[in-house]
């Protein structure tokens, strides 16, 4: 009834044996792909590490902090008392630059701002999502150095984000603050290195100052 009258008979070519290894390789490749995607989620490409926007004024932290030795708090004056470290007003710049390099072309936007009263539009480098509430004073006053989050600002011509600033990154420190604690007097000293084992120092400081960073959601998300 179903005799095939034609002489042709369909068969798969012999090379189709590759299907089996191909399936196996495909399955392995799929797993690898998943692993790669997950790894990518942790990588600097997925976070903003390396972000270094061009600022309206070519302000050099390397010069001001690294060479001239200015303290962070001279400009970021609110860092010890409020949530925000504060970007300095133009007046702060003019404290010096009304005298020093008062005619520099690089400082035109600063002088314009000073004249018009409109602030310089600095670009925020270390920008957290709006649903994250970070308090500078809570960290600085417990002995977490600026360098822990911002890196060696004193060596940067252009400020660059060096840490992922991701939730996991925050959590690691909240779980093990001893890795980053330092004596309060060295908080703004970016090149400070502990004279002893950081962990030992950190544990001692943690004990002394009763530092137990909360890991509740509401610590950062409100």
């Amino acid at each position: 009834m179903n005799e095939d009258k034609s002489n042709d008979i369909f068969i798969f070519p012999k090379w189709t044996w590759v299907l089996r290894p191909a399936v196996a390789i495909g399955a392995a490749g799929g797993l690898l792909y998943a692993a790669v995607v997950v790894t990518f989620g942790f990588s600097p490409w997925a976070t903003d590490v390396g972000y270094a926007p061009v600022q309206p004024v070519p302000y050099s932290h390397a010069l001001h902090v690294g060479q001239l030795g200015m303290d962070c708090r001279y400009c970021h004056s609110a860092v010890e008392t409020t949530a925000h470290a504060a970007v300095p007003p133009t007046q702060t710049c003019m404290n010096c630059h009304s005298m020093i390099r008062a005619a520099s072309e690089k400082l035109i936007p600063v002088r314009e701002s000073y004249a018009t009263g409109m602030p310089v539009e600095w670009v925020k480098v270390h920008d957290l999502p709006d649903y994250v509430y970070f308090n500078h004073s809570a960290h600085v006053r417990r002995g977490v150095g600026c360098v822990s989050c911002h890196g060696r600002i004193d060596t940067m011509e252009v400020v660059t984000q060096v840490e992922p600033l991701s939730m996991g990154w925050c959590l690691r420190c909240h779980r093990e603050p001893e890795r980053h604690l330092r004596p309060l007097e060295f908080v703004t000293q970016l090149d400070w290195v502990p004279g002893e084992d950081q962990l030992a120092l950190g544990r001692r400081l943690r004990e002394q100052n009763d530092i137990n960073p909360p890991q509740d959601c509401s610590t950062c998300h409100r």
Binding site: D4, F12, T16, R20
Partner: protein, 188 residues
């Protein structure tokens, strides 16, 4: 065996083996017993559906599949529990409704599902792997009569690679069992 000349096994035109057709289930079973008793090892029966008693008639050994599936299921259970314990009680503990971080009752459903999932995937994949499938090309597919193996006919095939295979003796055996002419299967 000695008369086998080029092409070598696997090459086009090489002899794969013999195929013989049966009309009825009981003829096939009788045939299968005879081939088994003759001591052949590299041979097979082809039927459109599972035939009860054919495994015994052919002397097919019991598959290891259940052990693989059991192992996979156990892996699923342990993996499922471990995943829940690690994620919710160790790696990131959080307080939920005043409940303990790890308690078996809440973790049973997921552990159960991972058990079934692992076991079921293994059942299919291992079945195919043990059967050497997928294998889209096979010398038997070059035979027109063999197409009815998925419809209403029953076949026995003996491979030329079988140590006992003999062009004339094997042919005689098969023809005596089925009363039909043996089909010669060659590689395409």
């Amino acid at each position: 065996m000695s008369e086998r000349t080029a092409p070598a096994a696997g090459e086009p035109g090489a002899l794969y083996g013999y195929l013989v057709e049966f009309d009825k289930v009981d003829e096939l079973l009788v045939g299968a017993r005879a081939v088994r008793d003759a001591g052949y090892t590299r041979w097979d029966a082809h039927t459109p559906f599972v035939i009860h008693g054919l495994d015994a008639a052919m002397g097919v050994k019991k598959t290891v599949l259940p052990y693989l599936v059991f192992g996979a299921g156990l892996t699923g259970t342990v993996g499922g529990i471990a995943l829940q314990w690690w994620t919710n009680a160790v790696d990131y503990p959080y307080l939920i409704s005043g409940k303990p971080l790890f308690s078996l009752p809440a973790n049973i459903p997921v552990a159960f599902e991972t058990t079934i999932l692992f076991a079921a995937l293994t059942a299919l994949v291992a079945m195919l792997a043990l059967n050497g499938l997928p294998r889209l090309y096979h010398p038997l597919f070059t035979n027109r009569a063999f197409k009815r193996a998925t419809d209403d006919r029953f076949f026995i095939s003996i491979e030329a690679a079988d140590p006992l295979f003999d062009r004339s003796a094997t042919r005689e055996l098969l023809e005596s069992l089925s009363g039909r002419t043996v089909e010669v299967i060659e590689e395409a």
